[in-house]
Symmetry: C2
Subunit: 140 residues, 2 copies
DNA sequence: TGCTAATCAACAAGTCGTGCTAATTAGCAA
DNA sequence: TTGCTAATTAGCACGACTTGTTGATTAGCA
């Protein structure tokens, strides 16, 4: 994702108004590695701006997604998570606590075999599931 | 997934009754590579057994899933898909028509780097997205 | 044969996300 | 500064998917 300042410029170029709500969301996403859901982002936003609506958070995330500034990640476990990291990367997910971390896989593009003659791969998503160090500690 | 005959035995062992509905679902899943949703499986089932309920299809799929006989795959695009293939395999998905095919990746386990000290990987899911040969043909 | 699980219809509910409306606010261009 | 119009808000509804519940009926199997 671009910096909040660059996003402000980008939004103005596109004819979108630069509102305090949007700017707050830009700042909250900037450098955010938590892979938040819209809901959790809303909760943090509401602390700094009581009265902001969940609807607006969803709306701004959709705009950023359409602009390619954030990625949305569906791990199949409830709500979609939003990721300001749009580099080519993948994820590890702790099955116990649900934490999500970025990982980088360098053997890509991956080779595969199967009955998929002529299939043109555009993107590859890898999700590693398991148990994080903290959860392993607690259960030990 | 085991064969329908083996599943019948397995269900009886577990104290589950072997009903015509369950047996039909066993047969419909056997060798099924379509990665159907509960709904699509229900539609096919209803042709052969008018009156079977969607609820029962969901129920039986849950039982099979709990027994490890089917896998459920959430591609983040609507309903969960069910897969009687429980081998270690992965999927290609056509973004245009939604078709899902099995693929096998042999350079697993994959290496990755990131801020994930001490994370124990239990499973890896890979989804290749792109365009299938048929869709490429039609759009050309 | 009889106990009990399974099924069914019908409906509700929960989660996630979007749509809509009407009123208010406020960004920004002229 | 003014004025057009987008944006926000509250509030409610809805759609998709899945599970829960209830009460009546069916049927598996010991
Ligand atoms: Mn990420
Ligand atoms: Mn499969
Ligand atoms: Zn954990
Ligand atoms: Zn296709």
């Amino acid at each position: 994702m671009k910096t909040p300042e660059e996003l402000v410029a980008r939004f103005r170029e596109q004819g979108y108004k630069v509102t305090p709500q949007r700017q707050l969301i830009f700042r909250l996403l900037n450098g955010n590695t938590a892979h938040p859901t819209a809901e959790t982002l809303y909760e943090v936003a509401a602390e700094q701006m009581p009265g902001i609506s969940l609807r607006t958070v969803y709306q701004t995330l959709s705009e950023l997604s359409a602009m390619g500034e954030v990625q949305h990640i569906d791990l199949g476990s409830g709500a979609v998570r939003f990721d300001p990291n749009v580099d080519d990367h993948h994820h590890v997910v702790c099955s116990t606590c649900g934490v999500v971390h970025d990982v980088y896989v360098n053997q890509t593009p991956l080779q595969f075999e199967g009955d998929v003659e002529g299939f043109a791969v555009h993107s590859t998503r890898i999700v590693f599931s398991g148990e994080c160090a903290q959860c392993a500690h607690l259960s030990a």
